[in-house]
């Protein structure tokens, strides 16, 4: 036993392996629940019942589906490229799973005299790692589209690669201001930088009335959502686009491209794509929470102090997952050229502007958050100016012609 531990490089590595296994299992479990929750929630939104056969409230439905898919015939088109076809689903799933390694899901727990941080790996390049995994994730979709050897998947694959590359840029750029503000690429540091209350920001210090007013808001946590909200919205939009979810689900638009890149997939391979998408949703939600909503931060009563951060984290992440579902229930799908327009001509310039703003503002420490808010307002003005579109789209467009009487 000791020999094995030594071989692995000591206790630290063993801990890491245990953490990895636990995180893997937890993530898969979460995904199963998320799939069920989405179906239940969206059914509720659509005046349906949703899954209700397996387990209480149909909670085991995903499991049943998984088992069904597992035992289905593994079908592969004759024109498909054998190895690539098999590789693609794995590549779609694994990077999403790996990305979870840098998400801090809680503070730390103490077992015996050993402190265990509730994060698989606190890398000093955490954000870059997240982006790297995202960029690998493109392969699954692209290769699936190509390897299927038929036209609709190819179209879906091309759409997917263009979309994911474009929005990866916006996604990466939207994280830069946060990194600038926190001064670190490590997710743990970023969460730590969001501890405390907004009233700590001493913008109003010394100003008689305003100081008291600021004091009133001491209960508001010092999350980056307040100062970095433009970055947050860019992150959110780009993140949704990265997951290929509505309203950015063009690569698998079912009414246009049948099922896009996974048209030819069935059985367990399809299940991998399916799971990969939901894992990705969870990851994006978790990253949004970590970067902009204080991560696991929240009130921490004395009772079981280590469980509260986890609870807060799960709660916040759940809200974002709910947002994903909500969007899917509400939004039609964007058109391909509009999608590219949004990504390249709006999100990327906007995030570049915001990086500049943050970089300038960040050089002076004291009142930075308040300055960021001011700049944010400026930014919104720019944003609206940028967003000025076709007057027919924004103005009143309803045609108003009705004939009441007789033949014309």
């Amino acid at each position: 036993m000791n020999a094995i531990v030594d071989f692995l490089g000591g206790d630290i590595v063993v801990t890491a392996i245990v953490k990895t296994v636990v995180a893997f299992a937890a993530l898969l479990l979460t995904t199963l629940i998320v799939v069920w929750a989405e179906r239940k929630v969206i059914a509720d939104m659509q005046a349906r019942i949703g899954p209700n056969r397996w387990g209480p409230y149909g909670i085991l439905q995903t499991l049943a589906d998984g088992i069904k898919l597992f035992f289905k015939e593994d079908f592969r088109p004759r024109t498909a490229d054998k190895w690539t076809f098999a590789l693609a689903p794995v590549l779609a799933m694994v990077p999403s799973l790996l990305a979870f390694a840098i998400v801090p899901i809680g503070d730390h727990i103490t077992i015996g005299d050993r402190r265990i941080d509730l994060i698989v790996a606190d890398l000093n390049i955490g954000i870059l790692y997240f982006l790297a995994m995202g960029s690998i994730g493109v392969y699954g979709v692209v290769l699936a589209g190509w390897a299927s050897g038929s036209k609709y998947p190819l179209l879906g694959g091309i759409r997917a690669s263009a979309q994911m590359i474009s929005y990866e840029i916006a996604l990466g750029l939207s994280l830069v201001p946060v990194v600038l503000a926190a001064g670190s690429l490590s997710t743990v540091d970023i969460v730590a930088a969001q501890a405390g209350s907004v009233s700590n920001v001493s913008f109003f210090n010394g100003v008689p009335v305003l100081e008291q007013i600021a004091e009133l808001f001491s209960f508001v946590p010092n999350w980056y959502i307040w100062s970095q909200w433009p970055a947050f919205f860019i992150f959110l939009i780009a993140g949704i686009a990265e997951t290929n979810r509505a309203p950015f689900d063009l690569p698998e638009a079912e009414t246009e491209l049948i099922a896009g890149f996974h048209t030819e997939y069935s059985g367990i391979r399809f299940a991998l794509f399916f799971l990969g998408e939901y894992v990705h949703v969870v990851i994006i939600s978790a990253m949004a929470v970590t970067l902009f909503f204080g991560g696991w931060g929240g009130p921490k009563p004395d009772f079981l102090p280590w469980i509260w951060p986890i609870g807060w984290f799960v709660f916040k992440t759940g809200l974002f997952v709910y947002l994903f579902v909500w969007l899917r229930a509400t939004m039609p799908r964007l058109r391909y050229d509009r999608l590219m327009w949004l990504g390249w001509k709006r999100l990327i310039p906007a995030s570049l502007v915001w990086i500049m703003v943050t970089a300038v503002v960040n050089t002076e420490g004291v009142s930075r958050n308040a300055r960021l808010v001011v700049f944010g307002i400026l930014f919104v003005i720019v944003l609206f100016w940028l967003g000025k579109g076709d007057p027919r789209l924004t103005g009143a467009v309803t045609p108003q012609r009705r004939r009441v009487h007789g033949p014309s």
Binding site: A246, P247, L250, M331, R333, R335, R401, S408
Partner: protein, 397 residues
């Protein structure tokens, strides 16, 4: 398998050819060019956006549709020939299967044609009931397209709402006829039987609910920015083109053709009712859809008026035991949910028609597709197909 006349014979490849020719002229020798390759994509016959076995032979360059050719006929059933072998009562059930979303409306022109030919007087109660049921059927049809259009653009939720609204009206019709799609309720001379107790309440409940909720649905779908982006100025069908293809119904009205048989050539008792003909000026997907949605409200208004003013009395005129049209010919047109449905009946005095020519709206409407689809995006293609509101059975009779 005809695709209708081509208005504009010039297509993209010809433009390229012309340019090439020009280049050759100026230099006396041509050089091969580096162009991206075009791909031929078969949309359908099995495709979720084509509502059946409709096929679109699309030539695409990347995401751009260079040329699209609708190919129809995959479910041609030869109704026009079939009806010549069957007597008039049987025909009623046949024609109701043409446009399976509006069975009652399909039965109507046949009944009207026979009544005209046989000079049968239809009692007012039957006429009123016919109007009410036809308009309820129209609401069902329009809601179906409301549902599918949203779904095609990626908005899945309106689908379910539309089906929820349909259910109450569907139930009313079921109470009266026993059928949900193919009702077989209109007979020459009147109706099969009187409506049961509770029918009016159920119908009123249904249509009032529709009127009440329609605004919400409008906000949900029509008010959506993405929806607007997907539909406005997409797939414009010009007024002149619509005329030349004989496009009718909501699609024509979306192209500023203010024509509605119910107003312009009234039948049944449509003159008694207060309703409006919606039309919109731009001819794009948005306008077509807008007309469709607003027609639901108008139809609901008609149903309300018809039920409120429902006369009592018999529901069947004096019809001989054997339905046998006298020698002669007659043309009847009605406003089907999807456009003008015309039936040209020639009778040689037998129990079966000598010839029944049916002019179905979808057939004329889809022939305009290849014009509209030219130089659009693949995503637009879906929006355009969805906004052309066709039923395959109505194309391939």
């Amino acid at each position: 398998m005809t695709t209708g006349p081509t208005v504009e014979p010039v297509d993209a490849s010809e433009v390229a050819r012309r340019a090439q020719h020009e280049a050759e002229e100026s230099f006396g020798e041509s050089e091969p060019r580096l162009d991206t390759e075009e791909m031929i994509l078969n949309v359908g016959p099995q495709h979720p956006a084509t509502h059946g076995v409709f096929r679109l032979l699309a030539t695409i360059d990347g995401e751009k549709l260079i040329h699209a050719e609708p190919i129809i006929g995959y479910m041609h059933r030869g109704y026009e020939k079939l009806v010549e072998q069957r007597d008039y009562r049987q025909i009623t059930n046949l024609v109701s299967r043409m446009d399976w979303l509006s069975g009652i409306n399909n039965e109507l022109p046949l009944a009207l044609a026979l009544e005209k030919l046989m000079e049968i007087e239809v009692p007012p109660r039957a006429t009123y009931l016919r109007v009410a049921m036809a308009e309820m059927n129209r609401i069902l049809n329009h809601l179906m397209f409301f549902a599918s259009f949203g779904a095609e653009l990626g908005a899945i939720t309106p689908t379910f709402y539309a089906f929820r609204e349909r259910e109450d009206i569907q139930l009313a019709l079921e109470m009266a006829t026993g059928g949900r799609m193919h009702f077989g309720f209109f007979r020459p001379g009147g109706l099969k039987e009187d409506v049961p107790a509770g029918f009016f309440d159920q119908a009123l409940k249904g249509v009032r609910q529709v009127i009440e909720r329609l605004n919400q649905y409008e906000d949900l779908l029509i008010g959506n920015e993405i929806f607007k982006q997907r539909t406005i100025d997409v797939g414009v069908l010009e007024k002149e083109v619509a005329y030349s293809y004989g496009v009718s119904g909501p699609i024509a009205r979306g192209s500023d053709i203010d024509f509605d048989v119910r107003k312009d050539d009234p039948y049944l008792s449509y003159e008694d009712f207060d309703f409006e003909v919606c039309s919109a000026p731009n001819g794009d997907c948005f306008d077509r859809f807008w007309v469709l949605v607003h027609e639901v409200a108008e139809s609901a208004k008609i149903v309300e008026q018809a039920i409120e003013g429902m006369p009592s009395g018999p529901i069947m005129g004096k019809v001989p035991r054997v339905v046998q049209a006298p020698k002669g010919e007659v043309y009847v047109r009605t406003e089907n949910p999807l456009g003008e449905l015309g039936m040209y009946l020639i009778s040689d005095g037998d129990r079966t028609p000598y010839r029944l020519k049916i002019r179905t709206p979808s057939y004329s409407n889809v022939s305009a597709l290849s014009h509209v689809l030219k130089d659009t995006y693949v995503s637009d293609m879906i929006a355009i197909l969805g906004s052309f509101f066709f039923v395959l059975g109505d194309i391939d009779r």
